[in-house]
């Protein structure tokens, strides 16, 4: 049936929460992912709730403690063109620049990219393709075509900014019916490709808050083409220089239903100087840390190799940056 989706534009957070409480309702950012999904019959929402009339969700602001907040409805383009943010958080700017194309970045929102629906080669297909197929987990069935042995959906989170925000230590303000709360960016994801966000019905992200002291960081992405493609794998790494020890975050994306924090590699890198061998070893830990399925464009072996490759490349780049900034590696 032709879908009739209602597009609403409430002006207060309370109204957003109320409208989201209705069945089949969803936040609508720039529509760059939802609209194509709807065209293919993958998104069947009855109501799309826009945030562009909610002041908190549309601003980029700086509080007294020096923390920057970005509203969820701010476009990727607006962040890139902000006078301060790209300079302060180049890791974030690099991740945003890696998203899709200029046309899509003009329209897409940062909240939309963080909450991007998961994708799979066996689900994100046009209508005729899906007709004769039994539904998979994400389509309401009980089967996974990408991983037949899996008891849950393994669709991929293809967000480029999610690993970046996690590496930066960003916190997200979640609105719900009763109150609002702050969560770590990594806490947003369940690890299940079907219901991939930890948000309860009616909950939504209003703002993203960045730490006042930006860590050093790098972002890298492996994709088939030099433009438009979703990542086959991406990585964000940050190092926050501390008094005695440094805090490090290594996050890999687009190989699972949520970003993956590479704790073993982090430990390895904390144990000694960043010589060539240590970087190679750290990058190599990724082969044990991720278990991609054949649901991307590239095959499983290729994606693992690409992950190791960009991780090593990113670590090398980060080491050079630390050298320039006088941070001991």
């Amino acid at each position: 049936m032709t879908l009739h989706t209602r597009l609403v534009q409430p002006s207060t957070a309370e109204d957003v929460t109320r409208l989201l409480g209705e069945p089949e309702s969803k936040i609508f950012g720039g529509g760059t992912d939802l609209v194509p999904n709807r065209t293919w019959g993958l998104d069947t929402s009855g109501t799309w709730v826009q945030l562009r009339a909610v002041p908190e969700a549309t601003m980029i602001s700086l509080d007294e403690e020096g923390q920057w907040s970005i509203g969820a409805a701010v476009t990727l383009k607006a962040i890139l063109e902000h006078p301060k943010l790209p300079g302060l958080y180049p890791l974030l700017a690099d991740a945003i620049m890696a998203v899709a194309t200029p046309e899509i970045r003009n329209q897409a929102t940062i909240g939309g990219n963080l909450c991007l629906d998961t994708r799979c080669r066996f689900r994100n297909q046009p209508p005729i393709w899906r007709l004769g197929l039994e539904p998979c987990f994400k389509s309401g069935g009980s089967h996974c075509y990408a991983a037949p042995a899996s008891s849950q959906c393994v669709a991929i989170l293809s967000s480029d900014t999610a690993p970046a925000f996690i590496a930066l230590g960003a916190r997200l303000k979640v609105h719900s019916r009763s109150n609002s709360r702050w969560i770590e960016a990594l806490e947003l994801y369940t690890g299940d490709g079907d219901r991939h966000l930890t948000l309860a019905p009616g909950e939504w992200i209003e703002t993203i808050r960045l730490p006042s002291r930006p860590p050093l960081g790098v972002f890298d992405k492996w994709r088939i083409r030099k433009s438009i493609d979703f990542p086959e794998v991406n990585v964000a790494i940050s190092v926050a220089p501390g008094e005695n020890s440094r805090e490090m975050r290594m996050v890999l994306g687009a190989v699972a239903p949520g970003p993956i924090r590479l704790r073993e590699a982090e430990r390895l890198l904390a144990q000694g100087p960043w010589d060539q061998d240590r970087l190679v070893l750290a990058a190599h830990t990724v082969t044990g840390a991720i278990h991609p399925y054949d649901n991307g464009q590239m095959g499983v072996v290729g994606r693992k190799r690409a992950a190791e490759h960009i991780l090593y490349r990113a670590l090398g780049k980060l080491r050079n940056m630390m050298g320039e900034k006088g941070v001991s590696a």
Binding site: L133, W222, R225, R305
Partner: protein, 770 residues
């Protein structure tokens, strides 16, 4: 050309470098593509597609759809139309599947409604029941699955669509006396055209019983003929017009189910009906490049000259014939046009499978064998210790010669192409001092300037032109050719302006309409400039003579006393006479001024079965060098630069020539690195959409240096040959040869994805380990 490197390469001058005549309409959005057209009272049609690659149709129930609001007509397959097909001997298609579906996406039913949304809703209500059958997904699979139902039951040959075997000279003897022999195998993956515009058609069955069809097609004449067969009515009752076409590349070269369905729905509901395919449906309508498994064996003498070649190809044809008969022959036809092969054996097979039908795509059937031949020659060169370009040079087919398979090669700038890319790329210096993991690769190729024979046998001209000159001084050119974006209409204007000596803005062209224009067979086989070009020159020369005759008559002077220079006629001792004055005098003498011109290619030399595929009035030649690096860590291939030299005789319109070369090269780049019309084990397309089927973005395109070389061809219009298809072919093997040069791996399959590079690197290091 815009790129001239006069010190290194001799470049022939282009006849014109002005803007294309369709440029403004296209960039301002005024050009009407088929989907832009809206007629009064028009209805919208939607096709219902098979969700299975192979199944028996048990039941199609249209009733629930017919009961929906806004629905005007609904149709299913049985009994509606006769079988049809582009090749007269292999007519195996129906507009809507009758008793079986043979590929996923095959149209089964169609519905028309007052709005597109209503038509879609109604299509979703049509109940189709199937008995699912095991899909035949590759040639020969039934050998491992006895009892498997063939794609088209009742054929003695089973799924084998066509088998051809040709031998010229004594191949066995060539191998027997060889100094050395070599063998390679290769799988060339299928690919889609991905024209920017999806197929669309507007059909109208008029109350008088005539048929109007406006459609995105490359071949209005063939569509008219096929439609007459499919509908069972006389051709003259059908008028087919091509809309402005947003790219064809071979994918719009025959009648399609949606075109028939639009007409049938219109007959059923009395209104014009438009059907526009979705991108997904375009991937299923397909007719793209055949996946081909190939094997080549060659025999060589001590000097690095080919003594014999044995070439085998197995084509995975998909569910229907399409142009497949011709494609099969084409995989063996042009090997001899680039290199002198004294003894040549070719064996080709095409098989039916339960996949969207394959057909012609830019380079039609010659791209796949060219890839293998050029990769093979590189390996032979390595084995013999001869420079790859030098090895080719020793084997080039000379200009104005006849090949062993009876193809008449005319002008050839192949040698000049080799020389050009060799010097432009600084080949020898770079090859002797390679950077780590970086390599240079070379390949060359040849292509037809128009197929020597039509698709259906007939002795008539391949292209006709009617020209009129009016008393306003304007020139009208009527020709059935179809501008699919390649610049065919601009070509007419350039030639007419030159031939009549007039300004281009006097000329208007009327094309691609079987109701008003003389037949041109269509935009395929790179035939339009050669054939319509020669036809329009003939019409123009006749017109020029008429005008001159009238000037002579009115001035009472002999022909020799009149000289035309540009738009002025000079008569000795008199004031110059304007073009328009000459036209007025001629109309006064003769009535409305009309001339015609026609072109029929020279007779082919070959007299064997299959000799009709390969002959052409002239061949274009191309050479390419690719500069490539390979990342050993992630398997990524980066193309840094491409040098392409093309011999097309006289360039008629520089911007179109450059556009065609760049377009062909980029398409080749996509095929070698990323494109694949591939299928999952259940018969589903890997990704029938523009994310699932990547083609190069502009950021993936490296710098391309173009050189246009060669001499005017004696048969071409003002010396011109083709440029639309040839430049694609050498790109694929040049890149593969460069990969081999960079990291020493032999790649035997396209596309060369990072996964395959990593696998090949792995195998290589394992071999070393042993």
């Amino acid at each position: 050309m815009t790129i001239r490197i006069p010190n290194l390469v001799k470049t022939p001058a282009s006849l014109s470098a002005g803007p294309r005549i369709d440029a403004w309409a296209k960039v301002t959005g005024q050009a009407l593509y088929a989907d832009d057209i809206r007629w009064p009272n028009m209805a919208y049609g939607v096709l219902v597609a098979s969700p299975y690659p192979h199944a028996r149709i048990v039941k199609v129930d249209l009733e629930p759809a017919q009961a929906m609001p806004g629905v005007l007509a609904a149709l299913a397959g049985p009994g509606s139309v006769a079988p049809y097909g582009i090749m007269p001997s292999t007519q195996d298609e129906h507009a809507l599947a009758t008793d079986k579906v043979v590929y996923l996406g095959e149209p089964v039913a169609a519905v028309a409604a007052t709005t597109l949304a209503a038509a879609r809703d109604a299509a979703g209500k049509i109940v189709c029941e199937y008995e699912v059958l095991k899909p035949v997904l590759r040639p020969g699979i039934e050998k491992e699955n006895p009892g498997m139902e063939p794609v088209h039951p009742g054929r003695l040959e089973g799924n084998l669509f066509k088998e051809v075997d040709l031998e010229f000279g004594d191949t066995a003897k060539g191998f027997l006396h060889a100094y050395t022999t070599a063998e390679d195998t290769f799988f060339y993956q299928g690919s889609a055209h991905v024209a920017m515009e999806p197929h669309a058609a507007l059909g109208y069955w008029t109350p008088e019983g005539r048929v109007e069809l406006i459609t995105a097609t490359q071949t209005p004449h063939y569509v008219q003929r096929e439609l007459a067969v499919a509908l069972g009515i006389e051709s003259y009752r059908i008028r087919v017009r091509a809309s402005v076409v947003g790219g064809g590349f071979g994918g719009k070269s025959e009648l399609f189910p949606h075109e028939i369905a639009a007409v049938l729905l219109s007959r059923a509901c009395g209104r014009p009906v438009k059907i526009t395919l979705s991108r997904e449906e375009v991937f299923y309508a397909h007719r793209g490049r055949h996946p081909v498994s190939m094997r080549v064996r060659t025999a060589w003498n001590k000097d690095g000259r080919i003594q014999a070649m044995d070439f085998r190809s197995v084509l995975d044809g998909g569910a229907y014939a399409s142009y497949g008969l011709a494609t099969t022959y084409y995989t063996g036809a042009l090997q001899t046009v680039t290199y002198t092969i004294p003894a040549y054996h070719f064996h080709g097979e095409r098989w039916y499978t339960n996949k969207p039908p394959c057909g012609p795509k830019r380079g039609h059937g010659t791209t796949q064998p060219r890839a293998l031949v050029e990769v093979h020659l590189d390996r032979v060169a390595r084995a013999l210790g001869i420079d790859p370009i030098e090895l080719r040079r020793r084997n080039l087919t000379p200009a104005y010669s006849v090949t062993i398979n009876q193809l008449e090669v005319g002008s050839s700038g192949l040698q000049a192409c080799l020389d050009a890319v060799e010097s432009l790329s600084n080949w020898h210096a770079r090859r002797s001092r390679p950077d780590p993991d970086r390599g240079l690769g070379f390949a060359c190729s040849a292509y037809l300037s128009g197929a020597g024979l039509p698709i259906y046998w007939n002795p008539l001209p391949h292209s006709g032109v009617r020209m009129a000159v009016n008393r306003d001084g304007g020139v009208q050119v009527f020709c059935g050719l179809t501008d699919i974006g390649q610049g065919a209409e601009t070509m007419l204007v350039v030639l007419v302006a030159k031939a009549l000596g007039i300004k281009a803005d006097r000329i208007r062209v009327y094309t691609a309409d079987t109701g008003t224009t003389p037949v041109d067979l269509g935009s395929y086989s790179s035939r339009v400039s050669m054939m319509a070009g020669n036809a329009v020159l003939e019409a123009a020369q006749r017109m020029r003579q008429i005008l001159k005759d009238s000037v002579c008559a009115h001035k009472g002077v002999a022909q020799s006393m009149v000289v035309q220079d540009g738009e002025l006629f000079y008569v000795q001792g008199d004031e110059p006479i304007s073009f328009t004055q000459a036209v007025l005098w001629a109309e006064e003498d003769l009535g409305p001024l009309t001339t015609f011109g026609a072109y029929t290619p020279p007779k082919a030399l070959g007299r064997y079965k299959g000799a009709g595929v390969g002959p052409s009035p002239a061949y274009s030649f191309t050479a390419c060098v690719a500069d490539v690096s390979v990342d050993r860590e992630d398997g990524r291939v980066t193309v840094h630069h491409l040098w392409v030299a093309h011999d097309l005789g006289t360039p008629l319109h520089a911007p179109s020539v450059e556009g065609q070369i760049r377009g062909g090269v980029v398409m080749g780049l996509g095929e070698v690195l990323m494109e694949r019309q591939a299928f999952n084990p259940d018969g589903r397309h890997r990704g029938p959409h523009l994310l699932g089927y990547p083609i190069p973005t502009i950021r993936d395109v490296p710098p391309i240096t173009i050189a246009v070389v060669g001499e005017p061809d004696p048969r071409g219009p003002m010396g011109a040959k083709e440029v639309g298809q040839g430049p694609l072919n050498p790109v694929i093997p040049a890149v593969i040869n460069a990969i081999s040069d960079a990291v020493g791996i032999d790649v035997n399959e396209t596309p060369v994805t990072p996964d395959k590079v990593l696998r090949a690197l792995n195998q290589k290091s394992r071999r070393k380990g042993l």
